[in-house]
Amino acid sequence: MILLALLIVLDQLVGIVMHKLYFSSTSGSEYETTYAFTKADADLIVTGSSKARRNYNTPLIADSLKLSCYNAGHDGQSLLFSYAMTKMLLSHHQPKIIVVELFPEELYYKEVHYDRLNILLPYYSDYNEIREVANWRGARNEDTTSIFYKLFPFNIEKIKLLSQSYRYNSMWLDLIKGLFKKQKTESGYLPLQKTISEIDKQKYIEEFELTKNRERERHIDPNKVKSLIGIIESCKQKNVKIVVVMSPVLKKYSDDPVYHLIDSIAMSYNIPFFDFTGDNRFNNLEYFADNHLNQIGSTYFSTIFANKLKSFLALNP
């Protein structure tokens, strides 16, 4: 009993300290997430994974469209995060347009995409908007076969979230580092500098094929489909324009069934779907750092994308 009482007190205390540290950070990933969730007020917001963050030169797009732009892409995240992000964003701000960046294989189930949703947990008690997505961590579909799921056939994430410390799991080091590091981007855009070689490209593709073949995670994730539809419907409700985009990749995989699903969802909601994955203009290694564009590539891509978006906005004012 004493141990339990002490544990609760200590857990609360640690939770308070971590909360303070987290929400008072003025740089780094935590700050940028909080900014995107609660303060972003640009006309155009880009959401998505590292592909969004690295490929969309938002200052250039802003200049071209004469709109303020913010890149809310987050490294390692997926459509699940974009859904939480959109819900948070629309709760405090009505942008003119939201760009949803997708990877061609985005709708496949990936365990790691749920693991990485831990970045939502610090917002769990204060923001209702992210709770649905955060709770998916404990109700991910793949887990139904695991012995742990069968031992605890309820949403174990909700139990873990009773702990205040757990909400900051795997963050304390980053928070301490954030006190000393001043990595901050005004526009959210963070370009990559290196350039991929032909050998690295082949290695990357071979490795991708190998992992694809040994992955057991090759089924469509209903939560991701729900997220895509959720983003579209939330934007429609708030009268916010939305475009779904696939920026260039090293190798096109458009024969994949999930690609066609994305296409059909966009079509059924009458949403523009700009696919650059097979665009020959990007058939040049100078534009790639890895499967992401580098600074040269992202600048080139953003110019093309901004023009395309400008035409779209001219036709759909």
Binding site: L7, Y114, K150, L151, K160, Y168, M171, K177, K203, R214
Partner: protein, 450 residues
């Protein structure tokens, strides 16, 4: 009650697989009684029936596809095209563990070291006792069976000790093993992306060694602790193997229940070292080959353990030369330096074959092995720096605790404050650290697959 809990636990996985377990339980139960009652050759006959039943189940579920694949491969090389059917089944959880535990029962009854169990429910509990059902320790009937018949009274000290062991096991699993695992995956799942990064491969290998140890010994600690809470004492399965001063010592401290199983039931019956050095070496290689096969139906496991065996054989033949080499490196004045030297070399030696254990395929393993010795290049990619640092902190904690246990307290007790008040603060802090730093997502135990 414990038997019901064990059945429920096992059925969480694939309920129908309990029938496989029941099949071997019934066979071994009657085999035990018949061996005891029979005389002469019939005793051996019943033992063989029991062993065939157990190995048969293991062969069908674990090895059939492996053998079929290899036979098909050889046939293809010879120009034949046999259409061997493959089984599409999931391996029953912990099959290798409880099969070996069941076999040790009939062998011990045959040897006269254990009376046959007449109560089938007690015998079933011996095979199915849930804390150790899926990943050991692989118990012996002399140690475990009688405990199920004894009364277990409430003992505060014993329960607290069991809970502390469980907590340490959980710490090793979620704070160290799974954190190291994140780095290991980055290296071993994408080895070709790290071409030329020699230090990355060495780091990946070391982290995998720590991951494997903390994953498996963490589970063992939790199993032993949980059993202790219920009043059952299970055998020690790991005794700080990475503080060993030779590779031979590592195997005396690593997965003790399996190593001793092979020693008792394979190595010694084959003659051990009694029939000379050459025969002893062959026996060693046989044991390590079987140990590899026990771990998994894949050439990577077989080669990995064969290499462990080869290391021991090398030591057997070149002990003098190895000692001479060490004498050149040792310091006559510093015992501590000598301990560190022996421990570090033993650890590095044991790590190298692990490349086969973790790699996805033989070509991957060979590429990693080649990269380890590509000294001209260097290079370290740490991936996510926080993950790397969390893992390093975890490993430092692991060594601090184990060095304390090995050299200072000379016991398995965890270092803790003496005063009761501080003890509460200490254990609360450990739990908070687990909550703050542990990996709680998608982490199965590596050894569950065996």
């Amino acid at each position: 009650m414990l038997l019901v809990a064990s059945c429920v636990f096992y059925m969480f996985f694939i309920p129908s697989y309990i029938l496989i377990l029941l099949f071997t339980i019934v066979i071994d139960y009657f085999a035990g009684i018949w061996i005891e009652n029979a005389k002469g050759k019939r005793r051996k006959l019943f033992l063989i029936i029991s062993i065939i039943a157990n190995i048969g189940v293991l062969s069908v579920f674990k090895y059939y596809n492996f053998f079929a694949e290899n036979i098909e491969g050889i046939a293809e090389l010879l120009g034949w095209h046999p259409n061997i059917p493959f089984l599409n089944m999931i391996l029953p959880i912990g099959l290798s563990f409880h099969t070996f535990q069941a076999m040790s029962y009939t062998i011990e009854v045959y040897r006269g070291n254990q009376k046959s169990e007449r109560n089938i429910l007690i015998y079933a509990l011996y095979v199915m006792f849930y804390p150790q059902l899926v990943a050991g320790p692989i118990e012996r009937p002399q140690n475990l069976l009688h405990q199920f018949k004894e009364d277990h009274t409430f003992d505060y000290t014993r329960i607290v000790a069991g809970l502390k062991l469980m907590l340490w096991g959980l710490f090793k699993k979620v704070v160290i093993a799974d954190r190291c695992g994140a780095y290991v995956s980055n290296v071993f799942d994408y080895p070709y992306q790290h071409e030329g990064e020699t230090i990355t491969f060495w780091c990946g290998l070391f982290f995998f060694a720590w991951q494997l140890y903390c994953d498996f010994s963490g589970y063992s600690d939790m199993a032993i602790g949980a059993a202790q809470v219920m009043g059952i004492k299970l055998m020690t399965n790991f005794k700080r193997p990475y503080l060993s001063k030779s590779i031979g010592e590592i195997w005396q401290r690593w997965h003790i229940s399996l190593t001793s199983w092979f020693m008792d039931y394979v190595f010694r019956p084959l003659g051990g070292y009694r029939k000379g050095r050459d025969r002893g070496a062959i026996n060693l290689l046989i044991v390590y080959f079987l140990s590899g096969l026990w771990h998994g139906a894949a050439w990577t496991f077989i080669i990995c353990f064969f290499l462990f065996g080869a290391q021991l054989v090398f030591r057997l033949y070149f002990k003098k030369q190895i000692n001479w080499l060490f004498s050149k490196l040792e310091s006559p004045n510093s015992k501590r330096w000598n301990n560190i030297l022996h421990t570090a070399i033993a650890f590095i030696m044991i790590c190298i074959p692990f490349a086969f254990f973790r790699a996805h395929s033989l070509p991957d393993a060979l590429f990693i092995l080649k990269s380890l010795f590509n000294f001209g290049t260097g290079g370290l990619s740490i991936g996510n720096s926080s993950t790397f640092i969390y893992a390093v902190i975890g490993v430092i904690i692991l060594y601090s605790v184990e060095i304390y246990q090995e050299y200072y307290s000379k016991s398995d007790a965890l270092p803790e404050p003496k005063s009761t008040g501080f003890k509460f603060v200490f254990y609360s802090s450990v739990i908070i650290y687990i909550l703050l730093t542990g990996v709680f997502d998608a982490s199965q135990f590596i050894y569950f697959q065996f």
